[in-house]
């Protein structure tokens, strides 16, 4: 049987997994799809080594990764899949937090905080003097890259003394059991565990505190923590029928399946454009290797159209 190999982001995994499952069924087992979870960074590393056909990514490809791919002669098509609201969560019993500003988040998470900021009181004088328990994504994940970029201002720039896991469910468990905990991960994990967690409203650029929710993503008010998620397909792999089939199937069903796994789908137009890029072999990224914060659906569509 022919094989399609996908690896990468744990955030994108639920969508890709759903697609892979349905796709294999529709092909009656003629094509085998493997979906690994190595985190966005891990996925790109394999992708640029030519080990996989498709990379799941919860952020656009970065300069360094572009260079690695270029060096190995790997060209790719970038396909946005959906939008995610990166969610900051606390324990439901936590009574003192109603909302947080990006400033406050930065105080908790920046590298300088390591070993120093250990009490909530240090984050904000109005908070009680309770131990600060941090849970976050592992350093190989796109979520980590995006969060540090959005909050600290520099990708991968974070303190190291927190419970870091590529496995978001471990984070769910950790936060749900500790009154003084705070953590962050993709919206889907929050949506599935609303009973055990409380989402924190984030004060946006406009100065209003907004709860993460599909609507807030759509209207762009949940910023800066809304982000697009992607798949990257290698040009060489696109020569294979089964990969083309898989990507086509992905784009045709992304809207439905993304909703099913609690992400915010893109407008239908976006998927059509993406398919067009595939068939016309429009290679490269529209982000220029920069980690961008606060990309809205509209601006994404505009960029895609320009490619």
């Amino acid at each position: 049987a022919s094989v399609v190999k996908v690896d990468g982001s744990s955030t994108v995994f639920p969508v890709t997994e759903a697609v892979a499952e349905d796709f294999q069924k529709s092909m009656k087992g003629a094509v085998q799809v493997t979906v690994g979870i190595s985190g966005t960074g891990g996925g790109f590393k394999k992708f640029c080594r030519g080990e996989i056909d498709v990379a799941d990514a919860s952020r656009p490809i970065l300069k360094k990764e572009m260079e690695a791919c270029a060096q190995a002669g790997i060209k790719y098509v970038e396909l946005p899949v959906a939008f995610d609201a990166l969610t900051v969560v606390i324990n439901p019993k936590n009574a003192f937090i109603k909302q947080l500003t990006v400033e406050q988040l930065k105080k908790m998470w920046e590298p300088d905080a390591q070993g120093k900021i250990t009490s909530w009181k240090q984050v904000d004088a109005s908070f009680p003097d309770a131990p600060l328990k941090l849970f976050g994504a592992g350093s190989d994940s796109g979520t980590f890259d995006y969060f540090t970029e959005a909050v600290v201002g520099k990708a991968k720039s974070s303190r190291g003394d927190y419970t870091a896991s590529e496995d978001d469910n471990v984070l769910v468990q950790g936060v749900s059991r500790d009154v003084n905990a705070i953590g962050y991960f993709g919206y889907a994990y929050y949506a599935e565990n609303q009973g055990k967690l409380k989402a924190v409203s984030i004060v946006n650029k406009q100065g209003t505190a907004v709860q993460p929710a599909p609507a807030a993503v759509l209207d762009g008010s949940y910023n800066p923590l809304s982000r697009p998620i992607f798949i990257y397909v290698s040009e060489k792999s696109l020569e294979k029928q089964e990969v083309r089939d898989f990507v086509t199937y992905y784009m045709k069903n992304a809207s439905k399946l993304a909703t099913e796994v609690k992400y915010v789908p893109l407008p239908a137009k976006a998927y059509e454009t993406a398919l067009e890029h595939v068939s016309k072999k429009k290679l490269g990224t529209v982000f220029g290797g920069e980690a961008e914060i606060g990309v809205t659906i509209e601006s994404l569509l505009a960029r895609e159209a320009k490619l």
């Binding site: 190595s38 720039s157 190291g160 003394d161 419970t163 896991s165």
Partner: protein, 316 residues
Amino acid sequence: MNTPSSASAASLPPLVVSDRLAKKALRHFKERFIEMLLFGAASVSVLTTVGIIWVLVSESYHFFETVPLWSFLTDTMWTPLFADPHYGILPLLAGTLTTSLVALIVAIPLGTTIAIYLSEFARPAVREIVKPFLELLGGIPTIVYGYFALTVVIPMLQLLIPGLSGFNMLGAGIVMGIAIIPYVSSLAEDAMRAVPMNMREGSYAMGGTKLQTALRVVMPAALSGILSAYILGISRAVGETMIVAVAAGMQPNFTLNPLESAQTISAYIVQVALGDLPHGSIGYQSIFAAGLSLMLMTLSLNLVGHVLRRRYREAY
């Protein structure tokens, strides 16, 4: 009488090696060939060790080209994958030692008690039933124990100790201890049962009770076996991965407080392996440096065990 003596040797026929007794070359060759094959198989285990050491040392070598050994040994922070990397093994070491210690505090007394009970107190029928049961306990995959720690034991501990965090070394250590009880008890029991009955009879004949016989005669006699059971328990605890990875919190904390969450050396390795690190990056090398430390720890434990066994070799 017809005793041949050296004097009469001259009169005997000359010394010959009969044809029948000449070494048969073919048979000899076949025997040698088979021996070589078997030797080859035995050397695979040595190759494995060589392979392990080679992999660990060569990758660690690159690691130590970037990271000075001194800071590896003294820095109190371990954040190799972050923007401001620190490469101090101490937090991982502290996590490993603390969880192991908790586990041993559970496993050694309980394991020893069970061993004494089974070997000296329980009726044979009870032993025949219970021993296999214990062995089954030792066969349960540790990932299963990990979730047991996370979903059952830690919540229970949280009821007892308010404010205990959801991941902690105490819960992970306790469950790890339970998981290694069978190793300790089974080996210790084997050692005690190997003590010949006449040793026990000596004590009973003096009027000793079971407990006196067990503690004063059987245990000293089985000392080396019991010590190796402990050593095996310790090296299991030090190397155990999934329980601590799931339940101890994956947080490189430099603390010896079992109520806190922490990361062990082994847990760090799986954590990184759960992602994917490219061949050659410092992150990739860091797991081999961590693995080397782990290997050195278990190796020295084994060495201690070896010495202890030599020293207290049973002399029944």
